[in-house]
């Protein structure tokens, strides 16, 4: 029996993923990836919050600029009433684009970039054409500096190349008008270059900086959340280990007692009572060895509790679990375990409780020797119709049967 005790200690100390099987690490990796999901979600939440602040900032800058700088520039713009009308209409269209894009952004969406960018380019070309001549570099030509902030709004979270392309088009329109007006003197071209640089650099910096900040925020939040997940796992594993040690102490106590009595000759191996105690102690040890999960699983925890209870009433019970159950809603777990705990109450002689779990299926089964006693779990000698009860997570089937040799209760959940 000393081998069994040694094995129990080994089993308690061993962890799954120990370098026994080459693919154990892969399984562990997959499980860790499952648990990393909440970390990703938390990082996403932080990134969303920081992105929202950037959106509010961009919308505020664009609208404030449009009202405080572009609007005053309208007075005296245009050399003719027709030109003034065009410039004013363009201001209104731009304001409408700004409101539309701003509402989308503040609601967490993205504006239709291509369509709005096209509208802005039309506005751009119209205003340049209307102001022309001597007002080209004057404040009256508000699109020079004012429109770029709207580029920022309509291209939010799009690749930076899109913004550069739009700014390029903006500069090209300006250059065409400058050249068409005959302002090709070096001083004019230098002024043009300065305007392009002066009006583009700040929006590009805001655009790129905003994106980079969001990425940084996501990374940092992700790291923090992953650290928390690892820590939570460590604490859970620690608790599982402590629980297992406590049970090992209890189990070895009863096993040692029987062994000591046998060794001292106080207990007779032929005595049925002594044999029953040996069977009980061995069953407990085996259950302990079979426990290999490093994080307590609620389903197995419930089944173990039921098994412990039945064992206290003197029923040797074997609990074997294969696989890692997925996270199940309480209701599904209850449907899986309740019929078995009921059946355990009727069990005589011995019991074998098994769990086979995969990501999409969990099957729990209890097999006990059949006996003449009453059967509270189902009608004797027949298979009860599968009791399927659908809910969001998939139904749980219950099957119960007696065949004169064994009583067999099985619950099965499948993901639908």
């Amino acid at each position: 029996m000393s081998t069994d005790l040694g094995a129990a200690l080994d089993g308690a100390a061993r962890r799954p993923g120990a370098p026994v099987a080459g693919w154990g690490g892969a399984v562990d990796g997959a499980r860790r990836a499952d648990r990393a999901e909440p970390a990703g979600a938390a990082a996403g939440a932080v990134a969303t919050a920081s992105d929202r602040a950037a959106r509010i900032g961009a919308v505020t800058i664009a609208m404030a600029w449009h009202l405080a700088i572009d609007l005053p520039a309208l007075s005296g713009a245009g050399t003719s009433p027709a030109a003034s009308t065009v410039v004013a209409a363009a201001w209104l269209v731009t304001a409408a684009v700004g409101v539309a894009a701003g509402v989308r952004l503040l609601r967490g969406g993205l504006p239709p970039a291509r369509r709005l960018a096209a509208v802005l380019l039309v506005v751009d070309a119209a205003v340049f054409a209307a102001v022309g001549g001597e007002q080209l570099f004057a404040t009256a030509n508000w699109v020079w500096g004012g429109l770029v902030w709207f580029f920022l709004l309509v291209l939010w979270r799009r690749p930076v190349q899109w913004l550069l392309a739009l700014l390029g088009a903006h500069a090209a329109i300006a250059l065409i008008v400058v050249v068409a007006d005959g302002a090709t003197a070096p001083a004019d071209l230098a002024r043009f270059a300065m305007y392009v640089y002066g009006t583009s650099s700040l929006p590009v910096a805001v655009f790129v900086g905003g994106g980079a900040l969001a990425i940084l925020a996501r990374d940092r939040a992700g790291t923090a959340a992953a650290t928390l997940v690892v820590e939570a796992e460590r604490v859970a594993a620690e608790r599982a280990r402590t629980e297992r040690r406590a049970r090992l102490a209890l189990v070895s106590g009863t096993a040692e007692e029987v062994l000591a009595e046998l060794a001292a000759g106080d207990a007779d191996p032929a005595d049925p009572e002594v044999r029953r105690r040996c069977v009980l102690a061995a069953a407990r040890l085996r259950r302990l060895i079979a426990e290999s999960d490093d994080v307590p699983d609620p389903l197995l925890h419930e089944l173990r509790a039921a098994a412990d209870l039945a064992e206290r009433d003197g029923l040797p019970i074997e609990l074997v679990a294969v696989g890692v159950p997925p996270e199940l809603p309480v209701e599904v777990r209850r449907r899986l375990t309740d019929p078995l705990t009921t059946a355990l109450a009727d069990a005589r002689g011995s019991a074998r409780l098994t769990v086979v779990a995969g990501p999409d299926e969990v099957v729990v089964s209890l097999v006990t020797p059949d006996h003449d006693g009453p059967d509270t779990s189902g009608p004797p000698g027949t298979t009860s119709p599968p009791d399927t009860d659908g809910d969001g997570e998939g139904p749980v089937e219950l099957e119960h049967e007696r065949d004169g040799e064994i009583r067999w209760t099985q619950t099965r959940w499948r993901r639908t």
Binding site: S2, T3, D4, A7, D10, G11, R14, P16, G17, V20, A21, G22, W23, G24, A26, V27, A282, R286, I289, A290, S292, V320, V322, G323, V324, R352, T354, V356, A357, G358, V363, S365, V367, E401, D403, E405, I406, W408, Q410
Partner: protein
């Protein structure tokens, strides 16, 4: 009439030689006692070092190997013996599915949990000696719960038979439950096991299991091939 003559009378051949490797003398004595009740088997050598034991009895047809010798898992030794064509039945108290599947991958003919008892032990050794599969319930559980993405593709019937066999440990009950014969239950279970000969590294023992399964009509060669048809695997062979 000596024991060998009796065995010859029963089986029509000499008894099957078995070597037992375990580092606990009490376990060796126990297993020896189990096998002694079976006339078709004879224990030739025992010890705690596979190399020493097999030097003493090179003619042993089946090696019963404790997977943990002197505190170390001997999966590599198991792979070496299997590659050399030794029929190794692993028996261990380490019945977690990872370990069992790793042992199959390394070329073990069968895996027996130490608590599974005499009946399974004798049946496993007898099957192993003729390169036939024997799947005790614990191994069935490991196979049906195999989470590896590259696990062999089992048919629904094979999976169900493995699952119910693992749960009930009674082929008669599985047969009643599935409304098929006990023989067919065994075929489904054995066929699932044969599909595992393709998992892990190649070994002489795996090839022997596969060859015998084809010879017995348990599987058709195209069923185990990489390009097997899923539709054709569910029909028990006659």
């Amino acid at each position: 009439m000596d024991a060998d003559a009796v065995a010859q009378d029963v089986t029509g051949g000499p008894p099957i030689g078995v070597a037992i490797v375990d580092d606990h003398p009490v376990v060796i004595d126990g297993v020896r006692a189990w096998l002694a009740g079976e006339r078709r088997l004879r224990v030739l050598a025992t010890g705690d070092d596979p190399d020493v034991v097999l030097r003493a009895a090179p003619e042993a047809e089946v090696v019963l190997l404790d997977l943990r010798l002197h505190g170390r898992m001997v999966i590599d030794k198991l792979a070496e013996l299997s590659a050399a064509g030794r029929r190794v039945v692993v028996y261990s108290e380490h019945t977690d599915p990872d370990t069992m599947l790793a042992a199959l991958d390394a070329g073990a003919v069968a895996f027996l949990a130490k608590h599974e008892g005499r009946e399974h032990c004798v049946a496993t050794v007898l099957a192993a000696a003729s390169d036939r599969p024997y799947v005790p319930p614990a191994l069935a559980g490991a196979m049906v719960g195999d989470p590896r993405p590259d696990r062999p593709a089992l048919s629904d019937k094979e999976r169900e038979a493995l699952l119910l066999w693992f749960q009930s440990m009674s082929k008669a009950s599985v047969a009643r439950r599935m409304r098929i014969s006990e023989h067919t239950v065994k075929q489904y279970v054995d066929r699932a096991r044969i599909k595992y000969t393709r998992a892990g590294r190649p070994a002489a023992t795996k090839a022997a299991l596969l060859a015998r399964a084809i010879e017995d009509g348990l599987v058709r060669p195209e069923e185990i091939g990489i390009y097997r048809s899923q539709a054709s695997t569910d029909r028990p062979t006659p």
